[in-house]
Amino acid sequence: MLENLDALLLARIQFAFTVSFHFFFPAFSIGLASYLAVLEGLWLKTGKSVYHDLFKYWLKIFAIAFAMGVVSGIVMSYQFGTNWSVFSDKAGPVIGPLMAYEVLTAFFLEAGFLGVMLFGMEKVGKKLHFAATLMVALGTFVSAFWILAVNSWMQTPTGYFIAANGQFMPGPSWWDIVFNPSFPYRLVHTVMAAYLTTAFVVGAVGAWHLLKDRANPHARKMFSMAMWMAAIVTPLQIFAGDMHGLNTLEHQPAKVMAMEGHYQSHPEGAPLILFGIPDSEAKTVRYAVEIPKFSSLILKHDLDAPLAGLDTIPDDEEPPVGMLFWSFRIMVGIGFAMLGIGLWSLWGRVRGTLYEMSWLHRAAVLMGPSGFAAVLAGWITTEVGRQPFVIYGVLRTADAASPLDAPAVAASLLAFILVYFTVFGIGVWYILKLMGKAPHAGEYGVKRGDVGPIRTAGITPGPTQNPGGEETLPTHAPGEKEPV
């Protein structure tokens, strides 16, 4: 089958595959790093061991997720050159510096303090350790800042000019490049998405253990914290998503037309198509279930406002409608399901039955992976919606690829698929195994078998440790000193 595909399509599939896989990990670790910082901060402030136990419970999971994020992320930093060398040559002078800033201000920060965060509690003390956790959390956010500036510039390029040799050159102000029109919206929407993704994972783990033991104080605490996030952040996220959509309408109208399934222009108010099957041949949405004039209301805040359709866009500049139509609806549908969980939990809180509502707990378990699905659907919407351009309106994807033969790209794509599914599949399984264990008092942190990472002169040895892993380890009484 692969022989029939050309090198360009294979390179696109490869980038889509590696970046989708990669983004699962930062989507989780951006939120989890912040959650860990909150847990450690609460522990230091209140002295309650439940926060310390939860910190160590989630730290083990963070260590695995972070390692997967790092190794899949390095692949991304080289994909630009291996598969998209024309793009790299042309856009390097503008986006290269932003990515260099990401390395300098974010990657080193995360990686430099990660070792202390994972293994250093005994060596540096609580306060410095907390500082290291904060630096890791800050690093994940700063990384999102820069890479989203790059992505947003590719969506809504500003502040550049094109030189005689075909390269994009920075204009007089870097501010115009970094703070391009879609960047603030995309940053807020993506970071909140990461927080919600993590919150629903934490909520699902809490709910899972509440279903088994509704008295478990650790499960209660994490479930409650996650449900606060669901109740407070989901409405904010829906609002931010709406703002982001309006921004897209202004700068990338064809993307919104495809999301809405508007093949035709509607001079007297456009309907909101809830469901249907887009047919790009016939340029219509079949079996459409629609609310008249509602799209105009949402997008223009006026029932009768005219809305242009894809009939105003040249055929060779249209994004693929079917994919966008569906990915957008999946994202929005999950968003409202998250809102439902948040409201349900508020109702439970008011009635004082948050920890007894087993149907809420079951629903929360079911929604555990929902953030990942929503994030992926959202990225498909925005990235596919930029097509057929890689730099919107200026450089076509077809003109950006490396001069490679199809077999070379096909072989590397197959290798990535095999390795990623195996290696990251196993990693996710290890994470699920850790999540399957109930959080408890005296939780262990990241363990390294018999051997503590490195001993500093003068520190007395910690308690006996077992090479088999923490399940065979003795439980420590709360408050007892133990390594993180």
Partner: protein, 331 residues
Amino acid sequence: MDLTVIWAFIIAFAVFAYVVMDGFDLGIGILFPTFNAGRERDRAMNSIAPVWDGNETWLVLGGGGLFAAFPLAYAVILPATYPLIIAMLLGLVFRGVAFEYRWRDPGHQKFWDAAFTGGSFVAALAQGMTLGALLQGIEVEGRAYAGSWWDWLTPYTLLTGLGTVAGYALLGSTWLIWKLDGEEQAHARKLAVRAAIATIVLMGAVSLYNITLNADYAARWLSAPEIYWVAPVPILTALVAVSMLRAITRERNSKPFWLGIALFFLGMSGLGVTIWPYVVPESVTIWQAAAPYRSQAFMLVGVAITLPLIIGYTAWAYWVFRGKVTDEGYH
């Protein structure tokens, strides 16, 4: 001095930092099977567990910096060495996750140990071969790579690949001399002697091969008056090699490691002499590949502010985990 030259030195610094810092991580991976499963391997891995991630980040700075400061070079070199880069990335995937996975799944620890070694070996070999592919010359037409996708595979690139594997093994074994004690340290010493000899032999072979690659390279090293300027490089290399072998066998702790770094520094200086002022030898000079002044200046501000901080907190992280790796809690 113009910014392009400054940036060439910054990239060279990043590559050097990567090569020595992840070099000893990868070297430990390469030597891992020679350590007994259990305590020996645990100690070897724990000597780098807190720092490998930061070490690997220099690779992203080297690649990202090349993309940003010399986009044309990035756009030519990566397609030319495509299979090597993909192999290196996949090797680093296995190596990186093995750090976590081997502790998570004691039943499959042997498998992840093998992945740790295999990944390290493939990454090291691919990095060395990429260097060789660059040095032997890359066919360029217009602003793009114009060769075939097997050009990178020659006896010369295999030699540079093996040289890199041996060099990393040297760094890894000397790091272990520093961080371990007792039997494991004695074992590391034995490994270091062999790795040092292999490294010196292969370095010499690559250097001689370089001179035969093209007339330009030979002129750099063998014609007067250049020879007076460059002669210190091979002379110092020989001196360092001898004192390193002595340090390894004379029960020194950290000295062999620092001399290993000095050896790599001299090797890289030699490479610099060989290819200057090209970034793609004989085809693209650093000035032809350079990003515009505004891009370089913008990034230089960032480097000037952040690089001292990065070096500072990296040094702190190393300081926190200083000293011998011991079995905490092992009675």
